[in-house]
């Protein structure tokens, strides 16, 4: 009769059937030990922790590289815009005689909004009906 939970647990675990080792158990082990062990499994076992560490390090490195590197297809509009913005005051200053201006005037000039260069005119579609009479054009329209 078991009095405590621990005793009952021990008895319960002991009641679970377990296999008997059986005949030839030792002989199979001795036979396996007598065979020459091939080289690479033993070496693989000894270097397994290092291989695991190397694989983990490689995976982390690849993830970090993928995360930090910019995508090759994405444009860099920020840098181009910044370069254009910086070039505009310089262009405006080139057209002014700076020898007659004070430093405050130059600063004000640099801050003055510069008109953007006019956009290039869109190429017009060629008029395929230029040699038709006005009546014919109206009829086609």
């Amino acid at each position: 009769m078991c009095n405590t939970n621990d005793d009952r647990l021990r008895r319960a675990l002991d009641s679970i059937p377990v296999p008997a080792p059986g005949d030839g158990f030792n002989a199979r082990i001795l036979a396996a030990l007598a065979e020459p062990q091939s080289g690479w499994p033993a070496r693989l076992t000894s270097v397994r922790p290092m291989v695991h560490a190397a694989v983990c390090a490689l995976a982390v490195t690849l993830i970090l590289l993928r995360w930090s590197a910019p995508s090759p297809n994405s444009p860099t509009p920020v840098s181009e815009t910044a370069g254009a913005q910086a070039a505009l005051p310089a262009l405006s200053l080139d057209n002014v005689d700076l020898t007659r201006l004070s430093l405050l005037d130059v600063e004000a000039l640099a801050r003055r909004p510069v008109p953007r260069p006019a956009e290039a005119p869109q190429p017009q579609e060629p008029d395929l009906h230029s040699d038709l009479s006005p009546d014919r054009k109206a009829a086609l329209a």
């Binding site: 319960a12 675990l13 377990v18 296999p19 030792n26 082990i29 001795l30 030990l33």
Partner: protein
């Protein structure tokens, strides 16, 4: 009375020391390649190793294979055993590792179910097992993870200390205590439920 008890303890300690000395001699001889010493060590530990493997794996045939694998691993790497602990602690750590590797492989291959029929098992101890206890024990083991099963068997059946179990499983002692406490509470709950069910019937 007291002196008689002290005498018995001293005799038991002396016997244990003799066995340990003999075991150390056999380990040294096995390390040198003596097949007789290997046979002696296998015979000494095979029942316990197969029992541990059977509880961790829950499969009779696989338990025997795993036990043999563990012995082969152990004797091939016997040079790595440097008397840092008891030989059985070192051997059990190999058994648990081999069993967990097999369980992982089985999970990857999805070959075997965790619980299998009792074919190939023989009742331990030679006593008629209490059916209720057996059912509750099986139910408990089915609910626990393989490392938890190993922990429970090492503590309750092999009688290892918490520190030794921590050494075998390579986990902190605190975790061993906490998990064993949780397993015992789980068993208590299952037992109470079984008793209530029996009474209600």
């Amino acid at each position: 009375m007291v002196s008689e008890f002290a005498g018995k303890i001293a005799a038991a300690e002396s016997k244990e020391a003799t066995v340990d000395r003999r075991e150390m001699e056999q380990i040294e001889r096995a390390c040198a390649g003596d097949a007789g010493a290997v046979d002696w060590l296998v015979s000494r530990y095979r029942v316990r190793v197969v029992r541990l493997a059977a509880h961790v794996l829950g499969d009779a045939e696989e338990a025997k294979d795993a036990a043999q694998d563990a012995f082969i691993h152990a004797f091939r790497s016997l040079g790595g055993y440097r008397n840092e602990g008891r030989f059985y602690t070192w051997l059990y750590s190999i058994v648990v590792r081999v069993c967990l590797d097999r369980r992982r492989l089985a999970w990857w291959r999805r070959e075997r179910p965790l619980e299998t029929p009792d074919d190939g098992f023989a009742a331990s101890g030679g006593e008629i097992a209490d059916v209720e206890l057996l059912i509750v024990a099986k139910s408990l083991m089915a609910q626990l993870s393989p490392p938890m099963r190993a922990m429970l068997v090492l503590r309750e059946l092999e009688g290892l200390e918490y520190e030794e179990i921590a050494q075998v499983l390579r986990i902190p002692v605190g975790r061993v205590r906490w998990r064993l406490h949780a397993a015992r509470a789980q068993f208590q709950e299952l037992w109470q439920r079984a008793v209530e069910e029996t009474e209600s019937v």
